[in-house]
Symmetry: C2
Subunit: 371 residues, 2 copies
Amino acid sequence: MTDSRYPLAVAWLHDRPGIDLLDQTFLPHEEVRRPLDDLEGVFEAIANLRVRGAPAIGVTAAMGLAATVSRSIEAGTSPESPSALLAQLDRGARVLEGARPTARNLSHSLRALLGAMREWLDQEATTRAPQADLPGWACHPWSRALVGLADDIRSADAAQCRQMGMHGADLFPSEGVSLLTHCNTGALATAGSGTALAAVYELHARGVPVRVYACEARPVLQGARLTAWELQRAGIEVTLITDSMAGALMAEGQVDAVILGADAVCANGDVVNKIGTYTLALLAQEHGLPFYVAAPRTTVDKSLASGAQVPIEERSADEVRFLGGVRTAPPDVAVWNPAFDRTPAHLITALITDAGILRPPFGPAIQRLVD
Amino acid sequence: MTDSRYPLAVAWLHDRPGIDLLDQTFLPHEEVRRPLDDLEGVFEAIANLRVRGAPAIGVTAAMGLAATVSRSIEAGTSPESPSALLAQLDRGARVLEGARPTARNLSHSLRALLGAMREWLDQEATTRAPQADLPGWACHPWSRALVGLADDIRSADAAQCRQMGMHGADLFPSEGVSLLTHCNTGALATAGSGTALAAVYELHARGVPVRVYACEARPVLQGARLTAWELQRAGIEVTLITDSMAGALMAEGQVDAVILGADAVCANGDVVNKIGTYTLALLAQEHGLPFYVAAPRTTVDKSLASGAQVPIEERSADEVRFLGGVRTAPPDVAVWNPAFDRTPAHLITALITDAGILRPPFGPAIQRLVD
């Protein structure tokens, strides 16, 4: 089940009910995996950003809830009725939803798990055979069902990544390519190989020479801490730059295309993503380079007519005033710290989705995609 | 002599032969001034970046050499002949030139001081009256001459700043302006009010409401550490952003113009400046904003036909891998770390020089300027 090409953000524990989380707060310094077998531990890990990236958070929450409830089932302290089991799951879901109140994926995954378990209980196991590749500790039928359903959420995410990776990789010539990326959109952000970086892993697996320039992504440095780490670990050629260097790098002719992810894709193809994305899109246009955005269909929000409708979260000033605990600016200097920016659809060459490549005009293409 | 609107990077000591340096390595945390009265101290301060910015380094070296040689003159251990004095000055200049071997301004200022002193000695004080505003410890005629000539270098730099400030300020409406700047081009980089920031100080002095957005300028963060500090200290409204935020800020309509400095201006008007400048120029063009470059005439190098002829220094990878002693990336990840980039003349709205504003076509304007 493990793919050596990229790190698994989250997996099942083998020896007891629980999950095995890659603790991202130690990156890029150490690769520390943290076994979690109770709800408090899963909550703490999500709240303290030991796991981050919307898909990875959602999958971790669903797997964590399934594993910790399974622990009580396996220990013989399980609820006596299906409705009591569902109530226990609901209590657990409410706890975990509080770990990152604004993370929509978190709640979405937990509710998907509860809905699937309710359906399974209604039909009393007749609809689903036990999965062969579940962890050995999932013995009780309720555990097997719960863990199996959570694993479906995990494997669906990984499959989405694989699809984005294959469609994305097809965009590039087999002779080799030099890509510029931003923030982290890799294995560390998903339960699979990532969104934008999925194409990089797929190219590497196909034997296509691929070089990645990773923008460090101030203020939180996901590019330096996470993208550089996971690509280097996978043996993929990666060069780190500060965000201010992207323009000069393109002017030097060192970049063939820009590829990055999206926090939201609007109905008209506008994209909201990590601060700095808009600048990279303008730079790509100016240098005649393709600008690709990779995102699963679930990231498309048809209720958003355009990027202008997306409020931009402004984060703590100290993210800009500090770095790794070191203050780098006057203590009380004013700061503007938007987490995201809006990239208009006309700057985007193509959207890489799990359902295939979307080309302009994006409005109709997105309409067909989500119908 | 002190101007409360901006900090003095370097001044004369009052109580004994020496200079009074603002130790920039403590910024933005503490305003520490360091008295320096021997050559070793001046060397150490330049070598360890206690003073930085080409003009400030040059002025500090000239003042430091004049003060430390004056110390021996005042102590009665002065050389017995003009030629011995010039030899002592030459030895001192050679020492200081080694503190930052690639800083052209450093050597230029020191050689200018030696040339002026040689000329003064040839004419035995007949050509120059003692300056009234020299420090009280400059009693011996040789000291008074030497310190006076070094002070000429200081005041010429401050006058250049004032001129750039006045010409620059005239570009903006008296109703107020919101400017975006990059790196540090202020009092901390010169012996006066700066190059680009000179216009900001002048606007502020005129009572024009001026707001400055300062890019932090990774990797070395001169914007966060120095620009934010000195503007805030002067009571000028300053907001710090990461370099990745400039595009989104312009898209929000928050910027009226970009103003920054230059490390070199070529004969055709191409500019070489801090990495990130080129990206800001493209962003300004895209958003229809003026892009102003402030530099004294001495920064123009007519021997450089265009930016392509300027080699770009690549600096240590650890500047990108580390921040303030904190490692933020995998230890051995590849890094591209150019100190500067090239901005083509066609992206520049005007050059702000001490001799006035230059407009396109820059070639003929620059030709007239330096003839």
